[in-house]
């Protein structure tokens, strides 16, 4: 599904990713872990097309398409969606506007017509209930005045409505208390099926107790230094990152 090959990325002249390769297949959940500053967020940001990142070498393909040649919105329409670590507030743009416009854009890209209003409302209300969010929230502006936890829930709500093929979640657990984390994790887990994949970027193992990954990768110095299964995450929790850093330096 997603193929990242020898990816080199610079930000303002500093090389952050230095030859990262990663393959994600449909049905899999991958977690990218690593110490701060290792370039974890850079990977998902580049895949989602965020500005300010220069790809100097390597390639990213998604279902055979060259991702780096696609516009930001084309990536999302194709099913590549990034849940932000710090979702921005968009004053005045109601959540319902964002959800409906985004869903219709995706449908149009697939050659389908606009979603009928009753069908849309039914879908959105069901997803709101999944995320334990009140319908009044649809009339509120995107993230405006939301607590950290509400913003994260909102990111997942968007995922549930838009049903991405590859959901990338950047530090989705940061700033969440344990109850909110459970709701968010439940939402993410409901996206899991054999046709979809999930890429989690996280500093802490805690999240992975709730969303159990198939593969765990440790990012050190812009490269994947070690890969393993969920067991690796638990090892990192008890031993920290230093031993991986030392191993990779050796």
């Amino acid at each position: 599904m997603l193929e990242v090959k020898d990816l080199h990325v610079s930000v303002e002249g500093n090389e952050i990713l230095k030859g990262l390769s990663l393959t994600i297949n449909a049905g899999e959940v991958h977690a990218i872990m690593g110490p701060n500053g290792a370039g974890k967020s850079t990977l998902s940001a580049v895949i989602a097309g965020k500005e300010g990142y220069e790809v100097t070498q390597g390639s990213i393909t998604f279902e055979g398409r060259d991702v780096l040649e696609m516009e930001v919105e084309e990536r999302a329409q194709a099913g590549l969606l990034l849940g932000f670590q710090h979702p921005i507030e968009i004053p005045g743009v109601k959540n319902i506007y964002l959800l409906k416009s985004a869903l219709n854009a995706q449908r149009e890209a697939r050659g389908e017509g606009e979603i009928p209003a009753p069908e849309f409302m039914k879908l959105v209300k069901e997803k709101l209930a999944n995320m334990q969010m009140d319908p009044s929230f649809l009339q509120r502006a995107v993230n405006e005045g939301f607590s950290g936890g509400e913003k994260k829930r909102n990111e997942i709500l968007q995922m549930l409505v838009l049903q991405p093929k590859l959901a990338m979640l950047d530090e989705i657990d940061s700033g969440l208390d344990i109850d909110a984390l459970r709701v968010v994790a439940k939402g993410v887990n409901s996206l899991r099926d054999e046709k979809r994949a999930i890429l989690l970027v996280t500093h802490y193992q805690r999240l992975l107790d709730y969303i159990v990954p198939d593969r765990v990768h440790v990012l050190v110095e812009g490269r994947i230094a070690k890969s393993g299964d969920a067991e690796l995450a638990r090892e990192l929790e008890s031993r920290g990152y230093d031993w991986v850093v030392e191993e990779s330096a050796a």
């Binding site: 930001v72 919105e73 969606l81 005045g92 985004a102 854009a105 995706q106 890209a109 649809l138 838009l162």
Partner: protein, 452 residues
């Protein structure tokens, strides 16, 4: 004869024609009519060397020849489609002429007098003569002088002390697509007694293709503790010419809130002035204008803090596309010894095209030392970070821009208590945006959701 003289003469000739057909009038009206004409003739139309008109060229009015409408015929079906869908007490004017058929005056609550100016004069002209022209005299501008020379119709609203009017009061001005353009000089007089409370909606709308000149003068007198919310919704046809001079006088502890919503008109100029004359008087000026094509929309506001402990708060937002031109001039004046004043003012403009233009000028004149005042104006484009956030969800750039423009207007609309107005304006704004996606459909969906 110079151009300027011939411009003025065209209007004076029209006035003479009208006067010849006028019946007997009370002497005070005839005298003011004369004073208005004399003042108009002396001043002529303002040119751009006059500071208050520096950015607004009125030649489209000055060079026009406008007749006066003689009837108020209007298709009821068209009128119904244009009328705000709101339960209200309503006076309707067609090209300035009162239409009883399109008005709704039954069931006025006790303590409320709402009637066309012509009828108010018939019933008791002296009661009108006292307040009329006290706030907006012929000296104010060429347009107020011209209005005074022609005045014959309009609306009088009187609220007895303590009267609270539940339903909004709508003054509807319909403009027709006439074969030859016409002009009207409506005159509105509002006298709100102590502790009275009402919502006044002034709605300017009309047939597509209308190209008339409306020259409105409005005087609003708020007695102690009176509360008035005043909507001015201007959605006239794109060739309509619209000048409005609104003057408010506020006694102690009164509150005046203005929503000046300008969506239509080819050339639009509004002067909004309040005199805060008593302690505790409080004024709010909210404005939204959206110009497209070659529309020109000019808003001049002035808050005169003539008494201590008075407050004013202003927020105007402008959206300009194509080659539209916006003007915002907001002034706060604090008189000597008017201490403990709060005067806040903000103006933000959004330019959607490289050729759109805004001239914004906030002004503060403070002659007291214990005051809290601030003002600011910003002009910019849409927030790129927000555009990215929307695109990252699959929304194309054009739709993202549309959503953000709608949001920009929303910051004023969310202060509007009347859903019929905020929804109508939001839909109008959505309808003006490029139709890449059906934004109006989105707004409708949200409205439907809100109704559930």
């Amino acid at each position: 004869m110079s151009d300027v003289q011939s411009e003025v003469q065209t209007f004076l000739d029209r006035l003479a024609e009208r006067n010849a057909r006028r019946g007997e009038e009370p002497t005070w009206i005839a005298a003011r009519r004369q004073a208005g004409a004399a003042r108009f003739e002396a001043m002529g139309f303002p040119n751009r060397r006059v500071e208050a008109w520096k950015y607004t060229d009125v030649r489209a009015i000055a060079r026009g020849d406008f007749a006066l409408a003689s009837d108020a015929d209007f298709s009821p079906a068209t009128a119904a489609a244009l009328t705000l869908p709101i339960e209200a007490h309503r006076l309707t004017f067609v090209d300035g002429v009162f239409s009883a058929a399109l008005s709704q005056l039954e069931g006025l609550p006790e303590g409320v007098q709402l009637l066309p100016l012509s009828r108010a004069l018939e019933e008791n002209h002296e009661a009108v003569g006292g307040p009329l022209g006290r706030l907006t005299g012929v000296e104010f501008s060429t347009f107020s002088a011209l209005n005074t020379a022609f005045m014959e119709e309009g609306a009088v609203l009187r609220l007895a002390p303590g009267t609270v009017v539940e339903k909004p009061i709508v003054l509807q001005f319909l403009s027709r697509a006439n074969e030859a353009p016409v002009m009207s000089h409506p005159r509105i007089l509002v006298e709100a007694g102590g502790r009275s409370e009402a919502t006044l909606i002034e709605h300017h709308v009309g047939e597509e293709g209308a190209a008339n000149f409306t020259n409105l003068v409005e005087e609003v007198i708020l007695d102690r503790n009176a509360i008035l919310t005043h909507y001015k919704l201007q959605e006239a046809a794109l060739a309509d010419l619209h000048v409005a001079s609104i003057h408010v006088e506020q006694a102690r502890d009164s509150r005046y809130t203005s929503f000046n919503l300008n969506l239509g008109g080819g050339l639009v100029r509004t002067d909004l002035i309040t005199d805060l004359n008593g302690q505790g008087a409080d004024a709010h000026f909210y404005g939204l204008f959206y110009g497209q094509g070659r529309q020109h929309v000019d808003s001049h506001t002035l808050a005169n803090h003539n008494a201590p402990h008075t407050t004013s708060n202003e927020n105007y937002k402008g959206i300009l596309d194509d080659r539209a031109h916006g003007v915002f001039n907001g002034k706060v004046v604090v008189k000597r010894d008017s201490q403990k004043i709060e005067g806040f003012q903000s103006n933000a403009n959004l330019l959607l095209s490289d050729r759109a233009e805004i001239d914004a000028k906030p002004e503060l004149e403070i002659y007291a030392d214990d005051v809290k005042c601030s003002h600011g104006t910003t002009t910019g484009q849409l927030d790129e970070e927000a555009i990215y956030a929307l695109r990252s969800r699959g929304i194309d750039r054009q739709t993202a821009r549309g959503l953000l423009t709608l949001a920009f207007a929303g910051e004023v609309l969310e202060l509007v208590d009347l859903d019929a107005i905020s929804e109508r304006v939001e839909l109008a704004v959505a309808g003006k945006l490029p139709e890449r996606f059906n934004l109006a459909g989105l707004v409708e969906a949200a409205v439907a959701l809100g109704d559930e």
